[in-house]
């Protein structure tokens, strides 16, 4: 397919022109999930929508009929036919779609989140065209910080409950394991620390996952890193019955989780700055600075060793609840990660080697 409907409207626009807001229309396409997945679809949706409203431009999201490149491409064509010329797409799944449509629609800007170089290469694209940019995150760092903090706080029986085993989730998970390990080694209690590790196979909780969490908590697990969309509900429910703890993901989930399962259930959250990225990129685009991004893949992680709030991966300091591991300790950790004193492996092929015990379970679904 080589349709290019939107070009009629955006054809005359070039990036430098001043008042761009009137000529851009923003659309977002969801990946396999819905815009209510409490994960990257939802964050992307909310960020894009907020930006569009603030700038008074048209916005709409598109939901592909299936989880396939073909359907995502169809949604793209559909959006373009509706006149949208800025398309925000969250998730590595979109690499295939971008490979199919980017070159044929040079006037449509595509902002991809979570699509890494590997994803593009796999989709047969060695170089990104000018109208595409992509951002990936060093989730492993966020996971690392959470794991490190939890073990330093004094937890020895931990758990990781991933959603589906997709790259971002795996990075969080392996980072978490590495963080736990490093902290335990530092504390000298590596032989006591144990991490249960499982993927739920879906991005929402249900009774089977809750049951699994029940067995964990009842067998001594103290805190579970619930990493994937709405899957925290299963961890939260099980935690609540035995006064267990939960670690949130992506955004500061303290409010949500504590609100549902009781104060203090949420220990911390491994955050990544998805919505900041969307907002910043769109702002730059509207300001005529697309060239900063054109054709680039940015791997976002720690950009400041001194002010953690500027980083794209972080723990929330505003709702800090840990006592043994303080905000100061956190700041130190960040600076060590920044300056390279601590390195975190970002590969997702195999479980990192550790001194602590990592017990892997079969996927629940």
């Amino acid at each position: 397919g080589s349709s290019n409907e939107g070009s009629n409207e955006s054809g005359s626009t070039n990036e430098g022109s001043g008042d761009a807001a009137g000529e851009y229309k923003i659309a977002m396409i969801t990946d396999s999930g819905d815009i209510t997945d409490m994960s990257f679809n939802q964050t992307t949706y909310e960020a894009s929508k907020a930006f569009a409203e603030a700038n008074n431009v048209d916005f709409q999201y598109y939901k592909p009929t299936e989880n396939s490149d073909e359907a995502r491409t169809a949604s793209f064509q559909n959006a373009v036919a509706d006149g949208y010329n800025v398309i925000v797409v969250p998730g590595y799944l979109f690499a295939g779609m971008i490979a199919q449509v980017a070159n044929a629609n040079p006037d449509v800007k595509i902002i991809a989140l979570d699509c890494g170089e590997g994803d593009f290469t796999e989709a047969g694209m060695t170089e990104l065209p000018e109208n595409v940019c992509s951002f990936t995150y060093q989730e492993e760092l966020a996971g690392y910080m959470a794991g490190y903090a939890a073990v330093k706080e004094g937890y020895t029986k931990l758990g990781f409950l991933g959603g589906m085993a997709v790259p971002a989730v795996i990075r969080y998970g392996y980072g978490f394991v590495q963080g736990c390990n490093d902290a335990a080694v530092e504390l000298g209690n590596a032989s006591d620390v144990q991490v249960n590790y499982v993927y739920g196979g879906q991005f929402y909780g249900d009774d089977a996952i809750t049951a699994q969490m029940d067995t964990w908590y009842s067998n001594g697990t103290e805190v579970v890193f619930a990493c994937g969309g709405g899957i925290y509900t299963s961890a939260g429910e099980a935690a609540k019955k035995v006064d267990g703890k939960v670690i949130g993901v992506d955004v500061d989930q303290a409010g949500t989780i504590d609100g549902l399962y009781g104060d203090g259930v949420c220990v911390t959250s491994a955050m990544k700055g998805l919505s900041a990225t969307v907002d910043a990129t769109l702002t730059d685009l509207f300001a005529g600075n697309w060239s900063n991004y054109a054709g680039k893949i940015e791997n976002l992680g720690i950009v400041s060793g001194t002010d953690p709030a500027l980083n794209y991966v972080q723990l929330p300091t505003e709702t800090w609840s840990m006592t043994n591991f303080t905000v100061d300790d956190y700041n130190t950790l960040v600076s060590q990660l920044y300056d390279g004193t601590i390195t975190v492996d970002n590969s997702i092929d195999a479980m990192p080697k550790t001194e602590i015990t990592v017990k892997e379970f079969d996927n629940i679904h």
């Binding site: 819905d34 209510t36 249900d206 009774d207 809750t210 029940d214 509900t233 429910e237 549902l260 079969d362």
Partner: protein
Amino acid sequence: MAGLLLLIQYTLIFSAVLILVALGGMFSERSGIINLGLEGIMVFGAMAGAMVMVLLPAGTPKITIIVLTLVAAAISGMISSLLIAVACINFKADQTLVGTAVNMLATAAATVIVKGFNTARSNGSDFSAKLDYIAGHDAFMFSIGGLQLSWFIVVAVVLLVAAIVFFYKTKLALRIRACGEHPQAADSVGINVYAMRYIGVLMSGFLGGLGGIIYIAAANSTWHFDYGVAGAGFLALAVMIFGQWKPERIAWSAVLFALFRSLSNVYMGIGFLHALPISGTVYNMFPYIVSLIVLAFTSKNSRAPKAEGIPYDKGAR
């Protein structure tokens, strides 16, 4: 030990669900209507029950929450079962088709309705197909020793006893059963076959709706309605056949099935089971394999209600 307690706890919960839904299926089939739409009825019941729990203001007394939730689920189940009753009884539609259609309809409708419900409630900020009802969920919980129980289980037991008494001792049940076996005979002694079949289907709606709310609320405090009830209705159907369309046997079969189902979820917490090289998926498969094999040995003399599946036509002989 903890694992064993969990096993008991989950077995009880699933048994409660399966008993109620399978009993529902039983009454419907005993009246002559095959009800493959149990899955859909469960979704509708669950949706209404969950909505009530969401809507009740904080501080509502537990007993009020419990009663209203159950009533809503039961009524919603009954209303949705009318979809089956009208099509199959009045319009003589193919019962297998209608049941399947109701299942599809339920998930699609629940998604759209819950989305609408959330959107309206949140003034457009939340349009998910998910409901959180943790306060409601808590209202049902109580524990004895280390065992967490819920009023749902009590309700299921009470209804089971009631169903057994009803089934064997009442005039109405005798009439319903006659309609599932030989509607012409029932008609010839002045029994209104349509009415009996309506009652049978409505009872399946009542019990299926309750089963639905128990399914989602006994072990969860959040539910995503776009995912339906993941085959629980079909499992109940298997339980019903396994139980030979008799309430007391259905109860035993339900416990058996629930045990396997729970094993698939908590076997990792039970040392020796976890040591076995069997994955959760295999435990999931177990009830289906077992029932297939048991059916193979029992079906030769299995007695499904004779007239089930056949629309009743007064004129025909």
